[in-house]
């Protein structure tokens, strides 16, 4: 259950709109279903009262939206940031992607977000989901109410949450948390322990489901080039089916490589993937390697830190040594 209530956020946003600090609010809005929450811009307190939501399905990271939003007006925009969003926020500031002066950031604590895909495995015909303490009450169309353990239904990225601490905000609502000692590299280690054939089969199975919707690119707060090759309508990438699986693998390797060293591990790529491909495992592999080769580095932990890719030391690991580790799987 989230520590703050919707009313608390509404009240604070209404105050700030009232006194003119901000003239619009970046918040979450109900989509087609109650669990289908989408980001939205609210212009007034009344608008917010009508459709603003805050709950267990508000996973969307607003940092990237600030790039477009801050360009629209000279006035400040209010953004609610969960701890993991603040890392992306800092990373974008490091890259000078938006004007800090035009944002009023409110840090809000997060108790983890629920993954609707996990609930779907347990219940059919979901009408709505209510949270009651550490239980989820799922109202279904045909089977009545189903009660589930909230902890078990958390999104994968939230079960291995790396930090409850806000690294950037103008104002904090609720209690400040701390950096968590998470087991987020366990999944990566599990794949590393496989044989090359198993690894290849695993990724072939996952990545061949890719339908090239580019949702992972669109949502990624690190992927913010103004002109992307995939936006070119004449490139022909979106109107053909893949000839074989490596096309997908190539896309995803390069996508992960482009954000390596800048990825804050917010996990949005996997959240939005309509094919449920665990894309964060590619990014996490880079983070794990960077940590072990060049020392611990958390992108976005502070503004202005130098990413490992644009840095070097004379005694860096040789590429041949980098892949020799754990040679038992060669």
């Amino acid at each position: 259950m989230q520590e703050l209530t919707r009313d608390a956020l509404l009240a604070r946003a209404a105050e700030l709109l009232e006194n003119g600090t901000v003239d619009r609010v970046l918040g979450w809005k109900r989509g087609e279903f109650a669990y289908d929450v989408t980001p939205a811009v609210f212009k007034s307190a009344d608008e917010m009262k009508e459709s603003f939501v805050w709950g267990d399905f508000c996973g969307a990271n607003f940092s990237k939206y600030l790039i477009a939003e801050t360009k629209k007006s000279e006035n400040k925009v209010l953004a609610f940031l969960k701890p993991c969003d603040t890392y992306s926020f800092n990373q974008l500031l490091t890259e000078h992607r938006f004007d800090r002066e035009k944002v009023y950031a409110i840090g809000i604590p997060c108790d983890g977000m629920v993954d609707i895909a996990k609930i779907r495995e347990k219940a059919d015909g979901i009408a709505s989901v209510d949270t009651n303490g550490d239980k989820l009450i799922v109202h279904t169309l045909f089977d009545g109410d189903v009660t589930l353990d909230r902890a078990e239904m958390l999104a994968e990225r939230c079960t291995v949450c790396k930090s409850k601490k806000h690294v950037a905000y103008d104002e904090l609502l609720g209690e400040e948390g701390d950096v968590v000692d998470s087991a987020r590299f366990d999944e990566v280690a599990k794949i590393e322990a496989m044989t090359p054939d198993e690894r290849f089969a695993f990724w072939q199975g996952e990545l061949s489901r890719c339908i090239r919707c580019n949702a992972c690119r669109d949502v990624c707060p690190a992927c913010t080039c103004e002109k992307c090759v995939f936006n070119n309508p004449n490139s022909g990438v979106e109107n053909k089916s893949p000839a074989n699986s490596f096309e997908e693998q190539m896309f995803h390797i390069i996508r992960a490589f482009h954000v390596a060293g800048r990825c804050t591990d917010c996990g949005e790529c996997s959240r939005v993937c309509p094919q449920h491909i665990p894309l964060h495992l590619l990014n996490r592999k880079f983070i794990k390697d960077i940590d072990s080769f060049y020392g611990e580095y958390q992108a976005g932990a502070e503004v202005g830190s130098r990413a490992p890719h644009i840095n070097y030391t004379e005694g860096d690991i040789e590429p041949s040594d980098a892949v020799k580790r754990g040679d038992e799987n060669a």
Binding site: N244, D316, V323
Partner: protein, 169 residues
């Protein structure tokens, strides 16, 4: 108009006979891997030159692509080479500290360490990729490296995991 068409016809026929004879040969000849070597202009390319001047032999299937600096090589180049049918890709540059542009190969080293580790993570054979530092004075090292690399790649056989069928003739 007619002439162009007939020329096209002739050239197509020629290609098909060539592929046919290549198929016959492939049954008799031992498999030879196609290797792409990215060599930096200032050290490794000169090293390859020296190997030639000294009459040191290395496999003819090593195709050298000259780049201004090893850090010119985008990870995409390496994947693209594989996609287009390379069986192994080797990247050669100046020794760390000797870069013509002071620090280019330091960046190469970081980038390739991460890329190769990622390819390994995706189950691509790790012997197919390599980074080797070859100076302009190391003709012998260049030839030895290429011989060794070609041998290792030949042992792995044809690259099936990374190829893209549309890119092959």
């Amino acid at each position: 108009m007619h002439e162009i068409n007939s020329n096209e016809f002739i050239s197509k026929e020629k290609v098909s006979t060539e592929t046919f004879s290549a198929e016959i040969n492939s049954e008799n000849k031992p498999y030879k891997p196609l290797i792409v070597a990215f060599c930096c202009n200032w050290c490794s390319y000169a090293g390859a030159d020296l190997a030639g001047n000294n009459r040191l032999s290395y496999p003819a299937d090593v195709k050298i692509i000259r780049v201004p600096c090893s850090c010119r090589v985008n990870p995409m180049f390496i994947l693209r080479a594989f996609q287009r049918g390379a069986d192994g890709v080797i990247l050669c540059g100046c020794h760390p500290g000797d870069c013509h542009y002071t620090s280019g190969n330091y960046y190469t080293r970081r980038r390739m360490a991460l890329l190769f580790s990622m390819l390994d993570y995706l189950g691509i054979e790790r012997e197919r990729t390599r980074v080797e530092w070859v100076s302009a004075a190391e003709g012998a090292k260049f030839a030895a490296t290429m011989n060794d690399f070609a041998e290792k790649v030949a042992a792995l056989g044809e690259n099936k995991r990374l190829e893209d069928l549309r890119c092959k003739n």
